[in-house]
Symmetry: C4
Subunit: 203 residues, 4 copies
């Protein structure tokens, strides 16, 4: 796990890449990294993720509370911390907001099935494309503790939890052991969702 | 409110970003900032907004007239000034010209309904995604004073005026307290309109 | 009209922009500028237009013949020179190759109607969006002199010739008084063609 | 044929371009160059192709085995080496992973027909657009030697082998005499596949 300076640099670079890919429009999205001391570096509430500087990154505890008085974490910090509490192996969390995620999550039910994609190998435990996963879709909720409870109830019922889920009309959460792995998983899921959108439009 | 030099730099940077996003093709679009002395810095008529320099920005009064002899404001300067006259809190105005705006505004009637998008929170007074707004669409008109009168009549009939509207087949106007807020609102609306275009194409 | 060095720099910069916009894939497209001495600077046959250097630009006469022994102009040089011979006001010609141009030109007949677009104002003599133009589409032909004769026959029958036409399954030609004007007209047409493609996909 | 240093630079630059074009999401894709000594420089297993450095490139023999102990080639190295063994004129191989390739290859049968595209001239032996080719599509298979045997059986039955093929749901392989030619052929095929996807969506 990195120190704050290294984590901040990784968060800034990730924000620029997500912006170039069109996945953090306006003030959407947030990005975090678990630090060596067990706390979390995360993007501040508001602000554009494509133009972050060190001041745009704050530290919070695993309960989501800011470590420095006056810092204001975004409400969604609770979802990041929920992931870090539940999965000790999670080192970085990305929350993006793309057109395919928004459109598909609004159209579908409680999950989206991804099947026979080579990029499924980006998920842990799937060594072959001849697999299928059901990526969960949760209803959006401005009450983050209530939403996090719904997410945890779903995790509790699953044998192998996928490192990602969608919020309806809102965005996607993906995590990995570190920032490069989280970024690669996000790119893999976004690619498959773009394909799913295209497939549904073909006659 | 900024001085001219700061406003010019913000306008040039905004033009480059809008160009990268494909929202100011050819000579389309214009960009303005309200200055500390109450006048307005705005892009000159013609010219590509992705390649602005300081000479591409001129000063006009709130009535739209140029402050330096020989400067030629674009006809649409009247719409920018109409916004600044009506909304004292407006500090920056963006006029873009994207494919979703053009296609949807030509297809729809007097407004477009945006509902249940997380990015609705980019609008003032909407603290939750569980809201809906009707973004006005006006018929395009080369007679700008007549068009501005139609816009003002619509504003007069509304309790809470949204900081944006569409011109049919032409483009979008969005404003905010300063350039970052105007840019974020434009990105939020453009994102939702791209989603609306996708949704209509799904079977 | 510029000298060779200035024209070459404009051609290289235009190639990089067209590449970024995805309009010169593989070896597609070519770019030319009329020089002060009445000859033409044009991209050499083959080679990627996004990675041009000065060696990628050669000089030809208005008949399309190379001015330096050993230089090999592309076959399509004949279409550029046909434009310069017919229109003394033409100072730069762009030939691009986009997805909307390719798909629409293969689907449609002898022209495409563009109507009620604000960007129609990019064409000469159209001061308002409340206009309509018919942009010609010609069948592709590897026999360039024969193709040029077909183009000229069409021009001969028109009162006001539009500064552009499409080749079916192949690409688009657009010209202007200088490179900035040619680029702006190309962006305007490409934008309207993207809209036309979107409109046809809406239910 | 280049030495290792030159080949490595070409591979890194190609990876950055493919990333910008969206054709190597996550850890997808791989890139190789035949070296002067007859061995092959190829991207290491895993890792993002948009962020390669010299350490991301390893050397293998024509049988796919690593030349330095501990280097781990990706499984797909076998497909690259199969191309170099069969085609002495092949100097560079690109494996990309785009949305059109993925969507079309999952929808179609054993090949995709490309007809009347100007960019068909990017293929060897096709001097005109008035041609048609059938680009092979093979079922994806994690058993690479078995997959390579299927590919070779298809090649054996063809008079003129096209320098490319698709793997269903997985990606595309394209080769050329050197990296610029391989890149131009990949851009040509990807362009035609984007057009094919658009055409199928039109009513």
């Amino acid at each position: 796990m990195p120190e704050l300076a290294e984590a901040t640099a990784a968060i800034i670079a990730a924000g620029q890449r997500l912006d170039r890919l069109g996945w953090v429009p306006a003030t959407a999205g947030n990005i975090s990294v678990r630090l060596r001391d067990g706390t979390v570096a995360i993007t501040r509430s508001g602000g554009h993720k494509g133009f972050l500087d060190a001041d745009g990154v704050i530290r919070v505890g695993l309960d989501g509370g800011p470590l420095r008085e006056g810092d204001r974490p975004s409400a969604e910090t609770g979802l990041h911390c929920g992931i870090y509490r539940r999965f000790p192996e999670a080192g970085a969390v990305l929350h993006g907001h793309s057109v395919p995620v928004t459109v598909l999550s609004r159209r579908l039910g409680g999950s989206i099935r991804l099947e026979s994609y080579e990029l499924l190998k980006a998920f842990p435990g799937l060594a072959t494309h001849a697999a299928a996963v059901e990526l969960p879709i949760f209803d959006n909720d401005q009450d983050i503790p209530r939403l996090q409870a719904v997410v945890e109830a779903r995790w509790a019922g699953e044998d192998a939890v996928l490192p990602g889920y969608l919020l309806r009309g809102h965005g996607i959460y993906v995590w990995g052991a570190d920032m490069p792995q989280a970024l690669m998983r996000l790119e893999a899921v976004e690619f498959m969702l773009r394909c799913e959108l295209e497939v549904r439009r073909l006659p």
